[in-house]
């Protein structure tokens, strides 16, 4: 999880170095308070806040690549942490009144931290908008990391069902078409070339299909080598066109074996069902039946 912490070494050194300097400085120049004078409620409140800020900072660093937004967020949190930390040290150590640096660190670091964090969040928002654009065909309406398939990075069947429900709830009068896409004889690829090769091929096929979809379409991995494509705002005729385009794209995809270099061609069968106001389960079932038809007759299947 924290494998990305390594690239942020310098920021971490700065924040924790300053915290350590504050501690050493206070110890040299101040005197420890007697136990009776310590307000434990303050210690708990301020210490807890400092600890939480440090944890948040580490979580952000541990989950983000290096970059401007990361720097801003970390420094913002880091300065806020420093302010709380120094505040907390005051509970244990009594500093003479002429030591101004302690006051500055306590009161100055907090506003600086808040400004940096706010500025960072604004940029993070813009960054997120552009990432959403990149992820658009994988996640249309909401994000749920537990529903993501590890191999293809597409949503799994639970995600598909939630998305279908979201589309149905939003505009009940709207046209929608669901495609079930199945790779023909994919089991043979696994048998001939092994699971690893099969997995790579499946991943590349999913990328290829993503490229052939529109901005508002959504593709999910249903199970094994079957994919589901949601085409919102789409009529039957247009759904057919898109399905044929997908079929052709896959047909012309010259996948290269990763070690041997030979080309493996694949074909897909597609079952098509347009939404007629039924439940998610019924729609998925109808699309699966259509796929079964397509498999037995070849090409594109439909169940009215």
């Amino acid at each position: 999880m924290f494998s990305t912490l390594g690239i942020h070494q310098r920021k971490l050194l700065l924040v924790f170095g300053l915290a350590l300097a504050g501690l050493v400085g206070s110890l040299i120049m101040g005197d420890a308070k007697p136990w009776a004078e310590i307000d434990w409620l303050d210690v708990l409140g301020e210490g807890g806040a400092a600890l939480a800020l440090a944890v948040w900072m580490l979580l952000i660093l541990g989950s983000r690549p290096a970059g401007r937004v990361t720097d801003l967020l970390t420094l913002g949190m880091g300065f806020m942490f420093l302010a709380m930390w120094q505040d907390n040290l005051d509970e244990f150590i009594h500093l003479p009144a002429e030591q101004f640096w302690d006051q500055w660190l306590e009161s100055g670091a907090m506003p600086v931290g808040i400004v940096l964090l706010t500025y960072g969040l604004v940029h993070w928002h813009q960054e997120q908008l552009s990432i959403n654009q990149q992820l658009r065909k994988r996640e249309q309406r909401f994000r749920e990391h537990r529903f993501i398939d590890k191999l293809t990075q597409l949503g799994r069947v639970d995600y598909l069902k939630a998305q279908l429900q979201a589309v149905m709830a939003q505009l009940p009068t709207r046209n929608m078409v669901l495609l079930m896409v199945d790779v023909d004889n994919f089991a043979d690829v696994n048998r001939r070339y092994g699971h690893q090769e099969g997995d790579t091929l499946l991943y590349e096929l999913s990328e290829l299909m993503l490229l052939n979809l529109r901005q508002d379409d959504l593709i999910c991995r249903y199970a094994a080598d079957r994919f589901a494509v949601v085409l919102p705002d789409t009529g039957l005729a247009q759904g057919r066109t898109l399905a044929i385009e997908l079929t052709q794209a896959v047909q012309h995809f010259a996948y290269k074996h990763k070690t041997r270099g030979d080309t493996l061609y694949q074909t897909i069968s597609i079952g098509l069902a347009d939404w007629q106001g039924e439940t998610t389960e019924a729609l998925v079932q109808r699309a699966n039946q259509a796929l079964f038809l397509a498999k037995s007759s070849g090409g594109l299947g439909e169940v009215a």
Partner: protein, 356 residues
Amino acid sequence: MTTPSWYECDERIFAAHYQPALLIDLLRSGGLCSHKILRGTGLFYDDILQGQVMMSATQAGLLVSNASKLGKDPGLSFRWGASCWPGHYDSASSLLGNAGSLREALSALVHYRRILSPWATPFVVTDERYCYVHWLTLGHMGERRFLIEAAMSALTSFSRWMSGERLPWRYGFSDSRPDYEEQYQVNFGSQLWFDLGVDVMVIERHWLDRPWPRGSATAYQVAQRQCESGLANLPASSLPEQVYRLLLERVQEPLTLPDMAGRLAMSPATLKRKLGKHGCHFQQLQDQARLHMSLYLLHVCGWNNEQVAAHLNFNDSTNFRRAFKRWVGITPSDSRSRFSLFDIHPDTVLPELVGL
């Protein structure tokens, strides 16, 4: 009986570099470390790579339990199963891989089940119209459902590969409909029946003898000879399976625990202890045998409750109905109406049980 015709759960008789290695590879390619996968088994991945390590039934069971917990992927059992056959298990694999028809393949599976299918035992029964492959998991061999999925996926995928077409199997499961039903749909198709009380694959009988293009009669015969000389002396079934088979043979006049112990040349206490080590009770095996026979009589032979009750030596049909409900969760008549597939053959004569 000089040498026992069964094996016990602590005997190291399964090659770790056969099916277990395939499962480990799948998990490793998903990013799991072998140390976690083998936790509790006392085995190390480096040793397995040497190709000499043998596992006991208990160790194999632990591996499967670890896999089903760690994998967090409902497709894992299906993927593992699909990669198992014909496999690379010496003469047993060359026998299976050269089968010229479904009948030959099933015969290889049944005879060399200890090597080809150590986790789930296939029982093959045919009547006039259908062939039934009944999968049985007895004792602690890991997660039951995971193993059934793997075994059925193995036969589905293998028969498709060998025949060059998707065979029209129908599937019955003792478990109820899972949350991840899409895995069943994609791997098995749409002919699925749940809560059946038995795990069974059904196919029309004429598929048994349709020639398989990938088979080779000569190679099959050679492999058969090799198997006979190399493997025939090894016990084919586990102790619980042996007990189950004897119970099934004598289902009309049930054997008691002391009777059974006598037939197996051990004391009742020893039999009980040994079954316990496999994670089984005598009574549970007894129930299974009677349940499977009554399902067969009800659904395949089309008998009514009274006939089945009389055949299985119940006092009356009420007692039978009660027992059946305890075993499956539904009454015999519910079972009959829910699984109309299996009522296609209403025949009051008991068809001959043909073991392959």
